[in-house]
């Protein structure tokens, strides 16, 4: 059943599917493009306000045209969208209300008016209002051939604007004062950029709905930011994420008739965001792996150190034999961690089995001596350079011995004038 719909959907037998896909590609690319700059300029919330403010405009456009005429609806949406931005700005400038509060108030106000108008149209409609309620949650299947052309034009305008003005948009987003100081027409470009943002949201509301379209402005960019520090790559990743979610959401809504598109697109988009939080270069997964690696390193080096402390430096010829009982008596090891650590040390050929016990190999002995040396070097350094009591230097060196690199080791030796393992132990 689902496979049959998948084949229907992706074989493009149904011409409507082609319109839906093309429409989604134009809508989602447009919103990701303008969204990048909304995000960089920290205007994310404003996009939310605008999208809600488009609903009354759409209703007015419908009332004006008397039918679901896309250019009329988008014109209406564009006008009320801009009014909402102006209103927020006005409230912030002329009253004591701050921007976050102003945005919240304006969102609610415009959405309320939109619902009032929508209800009015549905009660007094002549049958032409069919599909107007799709503007709440979106129905990608409603995209028609003519809509696709309109969306294509908007996309091309936005793409050209971003390409032509790219340098200025970047400077403006990073440092508006500087942009103005070098003579970039900041006010005009801001006005233009805001207009493009309103336009991008306006063409998306039929497919995604007024309530959720703002996710298309913000989420793809915010997610892409986790993957790269390069602005151009970030824009491309944002567009790819957005278009993928759009197509996937449209597919789900196509196979399950009556399913609104907007929620599915946003669910898929948010899932990608969640995956990115975990998997991205500085994500949770990497943090987890790094922490595990550090814990293991500290654990293993502590085992080696303890063996050395047990057996001392004197038995030069003999291989050093030890048992786990001896180790736990000398230092409080977690048995599980100790066993895991011993297994890793065997794999690294630093220790080997000897009957029921273990013995340190020659390389293992070198490694253990190195850690003892770093520990004592750091103790010496702390004593020389800081005012620390001798009974505190040991704990101070306990963590640091695991992180000192060979370069720092050389510098320490040079600075302290010590060669080999320092005699003093604290």
């Amino acid at each position: 059943m689902i496979w049959q719909s998948a084949i229907d959907f992706f074989s493009f037998k149904d011409p409507n599917v082609v319109y839906v896909l093309a429409g989604i590609i134009f809508i989602n690319s447009s919103s990701a493009l303008v969204g990048t700059f909304a995000y960089l300029r920290k205007r994310s919330l404003l996009a939310d306000a605008v999208s809600h403010a488009l609903l009354p405009g759409i209703c007015l456009g419908f009332l004006f045209a008397g039918e679901k005429n896309m250019p009329a609806l988008i014109t209406g949406a564009f006008i009320t969208g801009w009014i909402s931005i102006y209103l927020i700005d006005l409230i912030v400038r002329k009253s004591r209300i701050k921007q976050d509060a102003a945005i919240a108030m304006v969102i609610a106000f415009f959405f309320a008016i939109g619902i009032v108008l929508l209800t009015y149209i549905q009660k007094h409609g002549n049958g032409n209002q069919a599909g107007l309620d799709h503007f709440l949650f979106g129905q990608a299947a409603a995209i028609s051939k003519n809509d696709v052309w309109l969306f294509a034009v908007v996309f091309v305008v936005i793409l050209l604007a971003v390409l032509l003005l790219y340098k200025n948009l970047v400077i403006l987003s990073f440092n508006p004062d500087f942009a103005q100081s070098v003579g970039i027409p900041v006010r005009f470009i801001e006005f233009f950029l805001t207009s493009l943002t309103v336009l991008a949201i306006a063409i998306g509301i039929q497919a995604l709905g007024v309530i959720l379209i703002s996710a298309l402005i913000i989420t793809p960019t915010a997610t892409a930011r986790m993957w790269t520090h390069h602005l151009k790559k970030m824009i491309v990743i944002a567009i790819l994420i957005s278009v993928f979610s759009g197509i996937a959401g449209a597919f789900v809504s196509y196979t399950r008739a009556q399913m609104p598109t907007g929620p599915w697109v946003v669910v898929i988009l948010s899932f990608i965001t969640f995956v990115s939080v975990v998997m991205a270069p500085k994500g949770l997964l990497r943090k987890f792996i790094v922490r595990r690696k550090n814990e293991n390193k500290i654990n293993d080096e502590n085992i080696l150190k303890t063996i050395f402390e047990l057996k001392g430096f004197s038995e030069k010829e003999k291989m050093l034999v030890f048992s786990t009982v001896e180790l736990t008596e000398k230092r409080l090891f977690d048995t599980k961690k100790l066993d895991a650590g011993l297994r890793r040390l065997i794999r690294r050929n630093l220790i080997q089995h000897k009957g029921n016990e273990f013995e340190l190999t020659t390389t293992g002995k070198k490694e253990a001596a190195r850690i003892i040396k770093l520990h004592r070097l750091w103790e010496q350094y702390l004593l020389k350079r800081t005012s620390i009591d001798t009974d505190h230097v040991h704990s101070g060196a306990e963590a640091i011995e695991h992180i000192i690199t060979p370069e720092i080791e050389k510098e320490l030796e040079k600075e302290l004038g010590i060669e080999g393992i320092p005699e003093d132990d604290y």
Partner: protein, 264 residues
């Protein structure tokens, strides 16, 4: 360099925020080829004065001339270095990206950076000693390095007049002396540098000329002329309580800062 034309002429400048005058009847002329310091306590209008000179704030009255002309006529000869904290350094850009911004002019809005621009940007990066970091993301730089990125961006503008807002804040001693060295080199090439500075310990070493502000102009002149006990106590010592009382009154009563018809 003609001596009769000042690098900056600030004439009777008043700037208000929210009806409250932050700068009041400020008048000074600054000659070119000097390193000039603007000093004064916190909230004394130092940043405001720089922004007003740079045309970023509209004055309530008065005017600013740069090299005897309006800013728009000489914009390419002026470079502005905002406070480091005024931008979000987590912005996705490299050192070179930011320094290249200095090559943007009102005449080349649609032109991409060309080889000349990149060459100049790289030279500027070298001058501030950041060559090995040129492709580093700006979020991964230390505060002092970020400050040097801003200075490199200004150098890339190849201006004659540099306006810098607190370039020594958050900068370590070595970087501070490196920046100062650079400023002195710029001065010896006939450039004019106007710097907002807050560390009174170093002003006499750093600057040829000083402007001491506290909403009003308290003093101007060479460091020995300005750094007198009386001037400093006027600016820093709370001696101007009457003035600040008037400022508060003006804001509370939404009173105009000056009467109509007395604009200049």
């Amino acid at each position: 360099m003609k001596q009769d034309i000042h690098a900056i002429e600030v004439h009777n400048l008043t700037v208000s925020y929210d009806g409250k005058p932050v700068l009041w009847d400020i008048d000074f002329n600054l000659d070119s080829g000097q390193i000039i310091g603007i000093i004064g306590p916190n909230g004394s209008g130092k940043t405001t004065s720089l922004k007003a000179i740079m045309g970023l704030l509209k004055p309530a009255s008065g005017f600013v001339k740069i090299f005897g002309k309006s800013l728009d006529e000489v914009r390419d000869r002026v470079a502005y270095v905002p406070q480091r904290e005024s931008v979000d350094w987590d912005f996705p850009a490299s050192v070179l990206d930011v320094v290249l911004m200095g090559r943007s002019k009102s005449q080349n809005l649609f032109r991409r950076a060309n080889k000349t621009d990149i060459g100049i940007a790289l030279q500027s990066i070298e001058k501030v000693g950041l060559t090995e970091f040129k492709n580093r993301q700006i979020s991964q730089l230390s505060g002092g390095q970020q400050q040097r990125v801003f200075i490199a961006r200004a150098l890339a503008q190849q201006a004659d007049l540099y306006l810098m807002d607190e370039p020594f804040v958050g900068v370590d001693a070595a970087t501070e002396s490196a920046i100062l060295e650079l400023l002195r080199e710029m001065k010896s090439n006939g450039k004019t540098v106007l710097i907002i500075h807050h560390d009174l310990q170093t002003v006499s070493d750093y600057f040829d000329y000083l402007v001491l502000l506290n909403t009003r102009l308290i003093a101007k002149g060479t460091p020995p002329e300005v750094l007198t006990r009386e001037n400093l106590s006027n600016a820093y010592g709370g001696q101007l309580t009457l003035l600040s009382k008037i400022v508060d009154l003006i804001r509370q009563n939404e009173f105009p800062v000056r009467e109509k018809g007395f604009d200049l």
